[in-house]
């Protein structure tokens, strides 16, 4: 049997919607499993890429220091890196905080917010530090392909992966390109 293509996925500052949409390929996942196997992914619960993987899908942008670290490590392990969804591509809805000072954001969430009791800003050393602004991933690593959408539909994942697996240059037709 031919060697299977290794696919890894990760979620940074996203909502997991892109991963859910990927799973919307439904029973086609069986076809995919014939030619591909999952490495690191929230779907397998493997936390780090075992070795070099062929395709790495990144959901979410960069909102904290850990996201940046994860992305850099992920890039090192992926032959082809794909930015999946609005947040990875342009920061998405989390980036709507970019014109508000970080201090104000934290105060709103943890000090003045409705229903907050014991108001204090979390400062456990385990918590990753927030970046002052949310960034899309292409500002930090080289990105090979982009799948727009919030989320991209299952058909986008399917078209892209089947193109790539069969050695075609991936392309998305008009119906498959949307930003919402």
């Amino acid at each position: 049997m031919a060697k299977k293509i290794k696919v890894a996925t990760t979620s940074l500052a996203g909502c997991f919607g892109c991963h859910m949409s990927f799973l919307d390929i439904d029973e086609r996942i069986l076809q995919l499993a014939e030619v591909a196997e999952f490495d690191r992914s929230p779907l397998t619960d493997i936390k780090h890429c075992g070795d070099i993987v062929d395709i790495g899908l990144v959901e979410g942008g960069l909102c904290n220091a850990e996201n940046v670290h994860t992305l850099r490590e992920f890039r090192k392990h992926c032959r082809t890196l794909v930015a999946v969804g609005a947040c990875a591509i342009n920061g998405g809805l989390p980036a709507m905080r970019n014109h508000i000072a970080l201090e104000e954001c934290l105060a709103e969430a943890y000090l003045q917010g409705v229903g907050v009791d014991n108001p204090h800003i979390p400062n456990d050393p385990e918590l990753p530090l927030l970046l002052d602004r949310v960034h899309p991933i292409h500002e930090v690593v080289k990105v090979d392909y982009f799948l727009p959408g919030c989320p991209p539909s299952a058909d986008v994942f399917w078209k892209f992966l089947t193109d790539l697996v069969s050695g075609r240059e991936p392309s998305l037709s008009y119906e498959l390109v949307h930003y919402d």
Partner: protein, 244 residues
């Protein structure tokens, strides 16, 4: 009988009338040239550069450039469409375009043009400029994050409404749409919801309130039809109206 003078666009012979721009001649011939700041109802402005075509080897803006005999025009070439995609990416990164939360999504010309040009990402680093929202008017919202400075609202307010409500101030990344009122707020301006200036914004910067998300996803303008078809259907019909 006099025959109209002609130019060629992508090898096709296109007649034009004295004084017409390349955009006008092309539209009448059923040829789509991508555009955002051009709207046949108003004086050309020539700011977005999306309509860049090549005329006898030089890049020009089709919406302002007069047609003339002897012109060989290139329009639908990969090189020009690549340039237009880059221009569109610049428009996206210079503003704050979060389409999933925008009422105009699906009906937006900037988004429609980006889809047409198969733009998949913003390519450049994002500026995330800080711009003020003006929600003061009871019927009209001004979300400056989405403004592309096409000046269509400026032209409509001046040329049709006779009110001069809008203007552009600043330069470069500091550009801002400003409102002509004592407080600088829309609520204190002469703007009414029915004004032409509220109807012409090609993006989601000027929005008439109380109509958000009325049309479901799947039925919005650019969900089904690409902007070249939509634009030609609309603008050719407008042209016929004028001549008829």
């Amino acid at each position: 009988m006099t025959t109209n003078p002609t130019i060629t666009i992508d090898g096709k012979t296109v007649p034009f009338r004295e004084g017409e721009t390349l955009m006008e001649a092309a539209t009448r011939a059923g040829i789509y040239i991508p555009h955002l700041c051009h709207n046949p109802e108003f004086t050309p402005h020539g700011s977005c550069k999306l309509c860049t075509v090549q005329v006898n080897g030089r890049n020009c803006r089709a919406c302002t450039f007069p047609a003339d005999v002897g012109q060989t025009v290139l329009n639908d070439t990969q090189e020009l469409n690549d340039t237009r995609r880059t221009i569109t990416q610049m428009l996206f990164v210079e503003g704050n375009h979060f389409c999933p939360s925008c009422e105009k999504s699906g009906n937006c010309d900037l988004q429609g043009a980006a889809y047409f040009l198969n733009m998949l990402d913003g390519h450049f680093p994002y500026f995330y400029p800080s711009r003020q929202m003006d929600a003061s008017h009871p019927d009209v919202l001004l979300d400056r994050d989405r403004c592309i400075f096409c000046e269509l609202c400026v032209r409509a307010s001046r040329e049709v409404d006779g009110k001069n409500v809008f203007g552009i101030a600043g330069r470069g990344i500091g550009n801002r749409l400003v409102v002509n009122s004592s407080s600088g707020l829309l609520k204190d301006s002469e703007l009414d919801a029915g004004d032409k200036a509220t109807q012409v914004c090609p993006v989601g910067a000027i929005i008439v309130k109380h109509h958000g998300f009325e049309v479901p996803i799947g039925e919005r303008i650019y969900d089904g039809k690409p902007i070249d078809e939509v634009s030609l259907a609309k603008e050719m019909a407008m042209g016929e109206g004028e001549n008829g």
